[in-house]
């Protein structure tokens, strides 16, 4: 029983081995046929022997499908058919009339010395590469200042619209400066609040003053020696330094009025005189801090413009004051 089983297994193994060997051989033949088909195709078999080429290719495809299905016998039949067809095709290729050759046209390559992709024959600047910045890019010449405003494109925020260098090459549009700080709205980061160009049109934060549309507000009043125009205290001097700085930063402020006000204590003429004296002292200090005298005017109002009641000491303290009003910008 066991001997019969061993024999059966042996026969089976031989059959499988033979089948495998056969399959492998057919696969090798298939590869050889594929190579011949490739050769024939390159030899223009599709034109010279179209039916034969198609027959060979189709049968090779069938053979491969059969091999995949384990049908090596049928694969071999297809392969024979493919071989016969391709042999015929290769033979026909030999006798096939060559296609008329294309006339040989010798093209002399147009040079491009600057390598900008525009041939020298049409390049107005053959030694300078075009900059392809969207402005006259067909002439082959770089355009360093598209709008010819004297501001190089690299620094020009409006490269295709002329404008002065002071405005970063952009046109100055007076009507578009809402806060009248001299910085056009297009360039003004704070178009509705005055500020120097150095600070992109935004107000500079000062420690002791605030610049508004109408005035320079001081956070702490200027102090004077009682009954005189002499400024006292470092705080007062520091505040005036900030006022001077604000004026320098805001050249659009053409005229600033320094107003001196008193409380109601004392006679009107005395108060008027004292307030004028104090306004003059403030003006002198601002001039000392570098403000042009022409931008300043000092006016003493005495006790004529109180802010609060003079009946209380708090009210009187409020009325004793110096104000800085912008009268021309």
């Amino acid at each position: 029983m066991s001997g019969r089983l061993a024999r059966t297994l042996g026969v089976l193994s031989l059959a499988i081995a033979a089948g495998c060997a056969s399959g492998m051989r057919v696969r090798a033949d298939s590869a050889a046929t594929a190579a011949k088909i490739d050769l024939a195709r390159r030899g223009d078999a599709q034109r010279c022997a179209p039916r034969e080429l198609a027959t060979a290719e189709a049968n090779l495809d069938f053979a491969n499908a059969d091999l995949d299905a384990g049908e090596s016998g049928r694969a071999l039949d297809h392969l024979r058919e493919a071989d016969a067809a391709i042999a015929k095709a290769l033979d026909m290729n030999k006798y096939c009339v060559q296609k008329s050759a294309e006339p040989l046209v010798v093209k002399i390559a147009d040079g491009d010395r600057d390598g900008d992709g525009i041939p020298d024959s049409i390049d107005r600047c053959p030694d300078e590469p075009e900059d392809f910045d969207g402005f006259q890019d067909d002439d082959g010449c770089p355009d360093y200042d598209n709008d010819n405003d004297g501001v190089p494109d690299s620094e020009d925020r409006c490269p295709n619209t002329p404008g002065p260098a002071s405005n970063a090459g952009c046109p100055v549009l007076e009507e578009l400066d809402s806060d009248k700080d001299g910085v056009p709205d297009a360039l003004d980061r704070c178009p509705n609040t005055p500020g120097p160009a150095e600070n992109a049109g935004c107000p500079v934060e000062y420690k002791r003053v605030v610049v508004t549309q109408e005035r320079i507000e001081i956070k702490q009043q200027i102090r004077f020696k009682p009954g005189s125009g002499r400024i006292t205290g470092n705080e007062s001097l520091e505040t005036l330094k900030d006022v001077a700085r604000a004026l320098r930063d805001n050249p659009q402020i053409k005229k600033l009025r320094i107003e001196g006000h008193t409380d109601s204590v004392g006679s009107a003429p005395t108060n008027m005189k004292l307030s004028q004296l104090r306004a003059n002292a403030v003006k002198a200090q601002l001039v000392k801090n570098g403000v042009e005298p022409g931008r300043l005017e000092a006016v003493g109002y005495g006790k004529t413009q109180p802010l609060a009641s003079n009946a209380t000491s708090a009210g009187r303290a409020q009325n004793r004051r110096t104000e800085f009003k912008i009268v021309d910008r």
Binding site: Q46, R51, A54, T55, E57, A58, A69, K94, Y95, V97
Partner: protein, 104 residues
């Protein structure tokens, strides 16, 4: 009872899938080939025409052997070649037949 019926029905449907698909592919390939023939593809596009007819023939053989997957593949190729053959034939000038390939 119902459960007992579902499995065979599903299995039957799956088994029927190959024959149905291959039949559809064959019908389509046949139609393409007829159209190509009508356009004169046999003469105007001999390479594509020959390939199409061979693939269709083999597709039928595969159906006969119940090799539906191959049958569908070959039928689709037959359709593709027939369609190409037809397109070439329709573009070719009618009064100017393609020269016969040279023979030894």
């Amino acid at each position: 009872m119902i459960r007992a019926l579902v499995a065979p029905v599903l299995l039957g449907s799956l088994m029927a899938c190959g024959p149905v698909k291959s039949t559809i592919s064959l019908v389509d390939a046949n139609a393409q080939l007829d159209a190509a023939r009508a356009a004169g593809a046999e003469k105007q596009a001999p390479y594509e025409w020959t390939a199409a007819t061979l693939y269709l023939h083999e597709a039928r053989e595969e159906v006969a052997r119940s090799e539906y997957e191959h049958a569908i593949d070959f039928a689709n190729k037959a359709s593709k070649y027939a369609s190409q053959a037809r397109a070439i034939a329709e573009k070719a000038p009618k009064a100017q037949p393609t020269p016969d390939p040279a023979r030894p």
